[in-house]
Amino acid sequence: MKKLILSLSLCLITFIGFSQSENYVKGMKGMLVRLEAAQMNPLSYQEAANGFSRIAAAETKEWLPKYYAAYSLIMQALFTKEKETIDPILDRADNYLSEISESVSNDEVMCLQAFSKSTRIGVDPMNRGMKFGGESAKYLAQAKAMNPNNPRIYFLQGQSAFYTPEQFGGGKKVALGLFQTSVDKFGSFKPKSELMPTWGKEAAVKMLEECK
């Protein structure tokens, strides 16, 4: 009898335990689908960011909810037209990134750091280009040192080259090479798990076409 209770309760515990992690994967997958479906407007990315932030608040030990919350916020900033509201959005993104403890810091996190910095340039390109461009490049260099096969590194490098005038070492030609590398690397890129980042491929292909 006691054995039965024990096994039942064990069963329940494992069931609950299992269900929690299953919940996490399920919740994340659901949000990833919504992120994928996010339209090119700030509100839909804000919705995604809010969703990931809810998961992040419940699953404090996981880094991916924070990562995707930050990514959604950067995307929100990218589509936000009111320039004075961009910095606070990116401040929140940076907050999530800094919350991801250094032990799990990896090339993907570095890429997002870089993406956040380069997005800040848009607020005032004339006065910010040098500062944030430099900081962004620094993060990408760190990412490259961690994993040179991450296609997002070259995509982001290509982006910044694309928007930098030729006189300053940018331009379409330079960008073309980087987008090509990115697309090539995407071809052989396999995310380590189903929740790991996959974004950037379509954009890289599109930008490559634009450079040609």
């Binding site: 039965l4 509100l43 809010n50 969703g51 809810r54 608040a57 320039k83 606070p88 280009g129 006189q167």
Partner: protein
């Protein structure tokens, strides 16, 4: 037993299955009832929640049950939590969020001040605007002269603001006062600021009503902040029509320390040999200057900065002596020689750090030493000191002026919630002045006229609080108390300012302040029984700042009291007033690729002070002053052009032939026009980022008259004293230069500054 357990388990599972979803919905608004879009509604400890939609509504479904916490969070607003009970019935929960006072949204008090900074929001200028303004000749004060409130007093030392003299504008570096902010000068020729504008990341020009943190400036304060650690090591070299120089700046590997040293040599001899001046330079301005800096990050948030400066300047000029005009054969028999040798040392050490619970500390220590060795001689044609009795007691005067200062300042700040803050601190200044005048009638014998010393121990205490009621309403209340041992006097100076933000991009601000300043040393040397001079400022300002445009309108009234009158023994019986309206408009948008600004100042000011015999418009005040500044850069050709046009109506001057009260200072000089243009071209030469600059001041050769000097005696007996106009030493000034940098690419910076 067994059955009971089975039942229980079954019930649990059924309970989980039956456990229906609860729908939660509601509307989110702010305290004014406006709907908020994008608010994150979350159910604590679950993934459930929603985002408010376009009309502020949200809804979601959840399996959670019983008492839960519903949280609404939104950037810029205080988070709100509500305990609710989920029982399967549809639940409506509305939220009303309160807006937080935030740095980005809060109104900035703009009355009286113009700020140049890259870091702060809402600034009028960027740091590089200072150096890329044509006509500024790379001088901070030159650039400030294109802003409203300033006078085009290019014949005098100092920045003349809103009816104040140059001595009433004071400069502060990293919080501490700078005694000798201008380089050595010759009477009637003006002076440049000592410090290279590139060492500053922020400049605040306050034309009045400034904070209680600063004192001893009756009319205006120029507040400069030095740069922090550079981004990388670099080397610089410059060669120009006025001199040569170089510097290196190193940054340690851990990027926590940097050291820099620079040397500049200026010599205008070759330039003056090529382009004739209307006075004779026996020694064209010759300057040796060394700059040093050390900066270190000593903790996560703490930084120590040192800036050191050494300067040696020599100038010697000869010009006609107006008292020696020979009327039968119109020429001047004698010349006045004026020579100055100046040595200046300045050092500034500052420490800034942030601590827990919103505390911030700022400590500044600066020391300076300045020595002028001035000789004025009356020379005959064979270059000898005259023995003419008309020039007795002034045929050869030797004046030595020395001053040394030690300034310490401590500011403690405590940030409270919602941007509110309290700031308080103390300042101590030791100031020593030495003035030595001797008559060297012949080289063997000299008579000492004066040998005087002044020492002042000057202490001040100040406190100030920032009050933010909402993002729309903010105020600042401060008070400053000062004691000077030399004057043996206290003063208490209150300062108040407030701002109110209107809908869209407009705002109003107002400021009131009481300002005290010690009389100038030259008066104190004659009479130490003087009081502080006093000014009261009242300012109202309207600012409208949509993107890439800015319009400022400002009106002010100032009352001056206890000014120094120097007819006879100096006393505090002087007084005066100034009132005016100013306009500033900057636009980076309307004409594609061109950035321009317009400033206009109207002033009505009268003073009875100095050697004036009645209340009259001072000789440094022009009623109408305007500037037009434009910048254009062609990125494709890496080429840019900057221009500045300045207008000033005529200024009064003391006509020695009309000294009777009814006509005193009723004459005006001709209107002043000036145009400056500079072209720059950027090129990378073997890894050296190079800027070529060509600038011409007054290419159209407008005649410029700043005032008139008069002979002291009527030599030809026609009843009129001879008049000589005060003019620049040449109509045009041409500058050609090449600036090279290694290690740091300044291209973007240079372009930004030009755009």
């Amino acid at each position: 037993m067994m059955k009971q357990i089975q039942l229980a388990v079954l019930l649990i599972f059924i309970g989980m299955l039956v456990n229906a979803q609860t729908k939660v919905s509601g509307i989110v608004t702010d305290t004014k009832g406006e709907t908020l879009i994008g608010v994150n509604i979350s159910l604590l400890n679950s993934y459930d929640g929603a985002t408010s939609k376009l009309n502020g509504d949200y809804s979601f479904e959840t399996f959670e049950q019983d008492s839960v916490t519903l949280k609404a969070s939104y950037t810029g607003y205080s988070t709100q939590e509500k305990r609710v009970k989920l029982e399967g019935k549809e639940l409506i929960v509305n939220f009303e969020l309160k807006e937080k006072v935030s740095d980005l949204k809060a109104v900035v008090i703009s009355a009286g001040s113009f700020e140049a900074s890259d870091e702060k929001k809402g600034t009028v200028l960027k740091a590089l605007d200072i150096v890329t303004t044509a006509g500024s000749s790379g001088d901070t004060y030159g650039a400030l002269k294109t802003l409203p409130g300033t006078q085009q007093t290019n014949d005098r030392e100092g920045l003349f603001v809103r009816g104040g003299t140059g001595a009433e504008t004071q400069t502060f570096i990293d919080g501490t006062w700078v005694k000798n902010a201008f380089s050595a000068s010759i009477p009637d020729l003006g002076a440049r600021g000592r410090f290279n504008p590139f060492i500053f990341k922020g400049t605040v020009f306050s034309a009045g009503g400034y904070s209680a943190l600063y004192g001893q400036a009756l009319s205006s304060a120029v507040i400069l902040e030095t740069i922090d650690l550079p981004e990388r090591s670099s080397a610089n070299f410059n060669l120009s029509s006025v001199g040569i120089g170089g510097s290196i700046q190193t940054l340690s590997k851990n990027k926590k320390e940097s050291f820099g040293v620079g040397y500049n040599y200026v010599n205008l001899t070759p330039y003056f040999a090529l382009i004739k001046q209307n006075i004779d330079y026996k020694t064209a301005p010759t300057v040796h200057q060394i700059d040093l800096n050390y900066r270190a990050k000593i903790s996560q948030s703490g930084i120590i900065k040192f800036y050191g400066y050494l300067n040696n300047t020599k100038i010697n000029i000869e010009r006609a002596n107006v008292d020696s005009r020979d009327y039968d054969n119109p020429k001047f028999e004698y010349n006045d020689e004026f020579s100055v040798k100046n040595n200046n040392v300045y050092g500034n050490l500052s420490y800034k750090d942030y601590f827990k619970k919103g505390w911030k500390l700022n400590i500044g220590l600066s020391a300076s030493y300045n020595h002028d060795d001035i000789n004025t001689k009356v020379l005959n044609e064979s270059n000898q000191v005259v023995s003419d009795s008309n020039f007795a007691n002034r045929n050869w005067l030797n004046i030595e002026n020395g001053n040394s200062q030690i300034t310490t300042k401590l500011v403690i700040e405590k940030s409270l919630n919602n941007l509110n803050a309290i700031r308080f601190g103390a300042e101590y200044i030791y100031g020593g002045d030495h003035n030595f005048v001797q008559l060297k009638s012949d080289s063997l014998q000299s008579i000492t006229f004066t040998d005087k010393r002044l020492v002042d121990n000057f202490t001040s205490l100040f406190a100030e609080t920032d009050i933010y009621i909402t993002n729309e309403i903010a105020g600042k209340v401060g008070v400053r108390g000062e004691y000077s041992s030399l004057l043996n006097q206290f003063n208490i100076a209150p300062r108040v300012s407030a701002a109110y933000k209107l809908k869209r991009a407009g705002q109003f601000s107002i400021a009131y302040g009481m300002f005290y300043q010690k009389p100038e040393q030259r008066y104190l040397l004659q009479n130490q029984n003087l009081q502080y001079m006093r000014a009261d400022h009242y300012i109202i300002n309207y600012q409208y700042q949509p993107k890439d445009r800015l319009l400022r309108l400002e009106a002010y009234y100032k009352n001056y009291d206890q000014l120094i009158k120097s007819n006879g023994i100096p006393n505090n019986n002087g007084l005066g007033y100034a009132r005016g309206i100013e306009l500033f408009y900057r636009d980076k948008k309307s004409i594609k690729g061109i950035d321009f600004w317009i400033s206009y100042s109207f002033i009505d000011s009268k003073r009875d002070f100095s050697n004036y015999i009645k209340l009259v418009q001072p000789d440094f005040v022009a009623n109408h002053v305007g500037s037009f500044v434009f910048k254009k850069f062609w990125t494709k050709y890496m080429f840019g052009i900057n221009g500045t046009y300045t207008y000033s109506s005529g200024r009064p001057y003391i006509n020695a032939n009309k000294l009777e009260s009814s006509n005193f200072m009723s004459d005006r000089t001709i209107d002043y026009h000036n145009f400056s243009i500079s072209a720059n071209y950027l090129k990378t030469i073997k890894k050296a980022f190079t800027v070529f600059v060509l600038s011409i001041n007054n290419p159209f050769g407008f005649k410029q008259v700043y005032g008139n000097n008069f002979a002291s005696k009527d030599l030809n007996g026609d009843g009129l004293l001879y008049k000589q106009a005060i003019t620049p030493t040449a109509r045009q000034f041409v500058f050609i230069g090449m600036f090279m940098s290694w290690g740091i690419d300044r291209t973007q910076e240079a372009i930004d500054g030009n755009l």
